[in-house]
Amino acid sequence: MSAVGQPLARVEGRLKVTGAARYTADLPQDDGKDLVHAVAVCATVAKGRITSIDARQARAAGGVLELITHRNAPRLRPVPAQEVFGPAHETLLVLQDDRVHYSGQPVAVVVADTLENATHAASLVRVEYAAERPVATLFEGIDDAFDSPRHAPPATVGDADRGLAEAAVVIDRTYTTPAQHHHPMETMATTVRWTAEEVTVHVSTQTISMIRDGLATTFGLRPEQVRVVSEFLGGGFGGKGAWCWPSVVTAMAARLTGRQVRLVTTRRQMFAATGQRPHSVQRVRLGARRDGVLTAIAQDCVGDTSAFYDTPPFFIGAATPVPYAAPNIRTTQRFVRVNCQTPVPMRSPVEGVGLVSIESAMDELAAELGVDPLELRRRNYAERDPNSGLPWSSNGLLECYERGARRFGWPERNPKPRSMRDGRYLVGWGMATAVRHAGSDPTSALVRLGADGRAVVQIGSQDLGTGTFTIMTQVAADALGVPVAMMRAELGDTDLPNGGGSFGSHTAASVAAAARLAGEALRAKVIRIAVADDGSPLSGASPDDVLVDDGYLFVRGDRSRGERYAQILRRNRLQAVDATGEHTPPPREGATVARWAFGADFTEVKVDPELGTVRVTRHVKAIEAGRIINPRTARSQVIGGVVMGIGQALTEATEVDRRDARITNASFWGYHVPVNADVPDIDAIFVERDDPHIPGSVKGLGEIATIGTAPAIANAVFHATGKRVRDLPITPDKLL
């Protein structure tokens, strides 16, 4: 039986429910005697110069081994932007000079014998600044917004202005989305041991290879000298995907002290350690005929980027020309330099931000025209990718609409706002479309089979909790032809074959493709050994005629003529046999098809009209992401994505004081991620498609799981209340 497609329980599940899974800050377990603790001191101004650092009290405190500032820190080499993802140039700033570019920037690191001593000594470091007036938010700097054609080339189809002029109806609205933080439950943890020969780094990261390459470059080492390990990762959501300072300063501390050093950022420091979803303002104009067919989409975005990073991180409007078949589309983005940490992707840097406005505007257009919001979207279904003009590699969007709507009961919706009630509550139903580019990264895998018949699949990838361990096991087991119980997965170590970063919804597609190739190569290799082995029942058979089932190899048509993997290896005195697989993604240039995942969100909210509180009471999400490797872990991933969308819509915003550019809710009690009581039952539907243009038909789920949820909720709030909130999150004050 094929393991792919089965709801296999997480293979690492038992380790996680018994507390035995070792996350970065849980290491080392074997010899921790050498371990010492580092704590960062972070800037309390957002712009300026350090004028003095008084460390006398800190040094006098017990147990302090080292205190690193820009005056004594090792000099770092710049990391070219193409080498790492994220603010590469930040390497120049980590304790290299007296400049401060954002609040929360590390200005000193204390190393001490115990965590208590390090934490206390760090609190005693007195830093004085010559503060300058920062650009606190997008709004303060909007007059200086600039274009960056290299990173945000305006996306253009037809002539949007003409399309708007020809429209019978034009919706012209401006939406704002706040800065938000990923807040994985595990903060950034790093442990570094630095010896003469090599540097070993345990780190919470979505991309071990990038940390290896970045550290090697910045410290002038060869990549082979740096080993990076990240086996169990306490979530990421994009926040652990970028190059950022914690691993750099921990490596500095390890080098200077000669000790194994651990640094775990505090929850407060997480607000500036790894970047955030950018703050944005999005003006959307939709032009349509009376029947709702779009004549034009124009989206003009402004997003923030940091003051110290030349390269704006990404283009939030890039996917706007994808969901709907408008003949005229234009989307642009300008950037504002703000004294904040550099924005990084957060569960879709593009669609998760840029489609909030489009999907809200579509709802406004539907209301304006008196067309059902779902019907409006159907009428504008794109038969081809409007952006590239290419045919879809596969597209299940219409079926997502249909099955999602049926499960939700959408046809029962009374189109009139404020028309549906449940006791004192106003009931609202809203929906939205989700799209997400489907891609993969170059990935290598190794599968090794032992003489005991057990096998291991190795990829230097990461498991953020999404199920990478499990799907690697399933795919490799199928490819080799053994039961999943005989296959083990290893990941999270740069000593393993290169696995790329776990972001961009690429991981499942990448590791599945590589694992399959490696498993199939190994199967072929053992078959060749067997057919050439006089002692084997398979001797002399054509390799093409040898089938494998459940670890048993046999000749097509004669199941009695065969033997098990283990027998072949043992007879040939082989301890183990292995084979590798290399996945190379199809080049984006010269593509003949457009590869996207699709989805539709349907949601119900109940609003207390007097008090302004909103609760999501039911949510259905239908997704077409090709073939689902594991419906159990996939369902959990989609549910989790919807939960994050609930936070995006209703509770989450990083609040900045507009006078000094400092975050004022930098805690878990001040920044509200959803709690259990905020979350209803969530229904995930998978519309499966074979996609001949994508290996394994795997399109990825990580981001499509969240995209669409926030605008669907905002639309439902409008339907419930008749009030359109264009400024997320929709907190009670905005509905009073």
Partner: protein, 323 residues
Amino acid sequence: MRPFSYTTVSSVRSAVLQVSPDPKAQYVAGATEVLNLVREGQIAADRLVDIRALPLTSIRAGADGLHIGALARHVENHPVVRRDYPVLAQALLAGASPQVRNMFTPGGNLLQRTRCSYYRDVSFACNRREPGSGCGALEGNNRYNAIFGGSDHCIAVHPSDLAVALTALDAVARTQGPAGARAIPIEELHRLPGEEPHRETVLEHGELITGIDVPASRFAARSHYLKIRDRASFAFALVSVAVAVDVRRGVVRDCRIALGGVAPRPWRARAAEAALTGKPLNEASRRAAGKAAASGAVPRRHNRFKVAMVERAVARALSEVED
């Protein structure tokens, strides 16, 4: 966290003797607040004095009312509290996570410090934490801050739900200090900031809350606590309301209305009580009481919504105690 010594005591007298003469000593019981404050630097304690062994854990219910020891556990589970003082049980349940509720003590809950952003991050200016340093909230992110009782030096909000319910029940804190015992109405336990926001309560250093007395009343049994927050659970109040009414023959004879999340201390809405007293409890009187409750508010840039929220929350809470 700064180093501190740790002392256990077994009598109230001994506790007061330990803490009173030592300005760097601090009581600890539930520890849910003190540890955060010492860790983050709001309290510079060199010594924590653990009072959990003191005989202050009782809950006594009688004809004269309710006595709650300062260290009593799970007051919300007490059958008399649930039946005769529902506002109290509801405020306790809304007050914190189940884990924190397993740890905190009533006395400590009353003395928790503000959750004002500018107080809780020691790198911000805050007159309450550091006299004369300024108030970051006045012109800053003051969405959570006070619309009543603030001053030009501080607009912090007291975060205790329990204190709001106790205020609506005319409760009194019993204390023991170096100068002896006294009784302080809960409403008056916290000072309004005025020009000295750093003087947060009327307690002397070392003065220990030993218990809380809730007098018997005709309104306690018909009471309700409503808390509005930014998520469904486990968050501090934007606005909360404790109401208690004595309705006889269709007319409100007496009532108490106290607000949380709006002032540096639990805020008695006396104008609302006056507006409601003598009236039948109906939609019109509820709305009038809500209006009265919000009168005199001094909102700031980001918390203007609290005025309307108070009006509606008071009306809603009263609707919950209507027949």
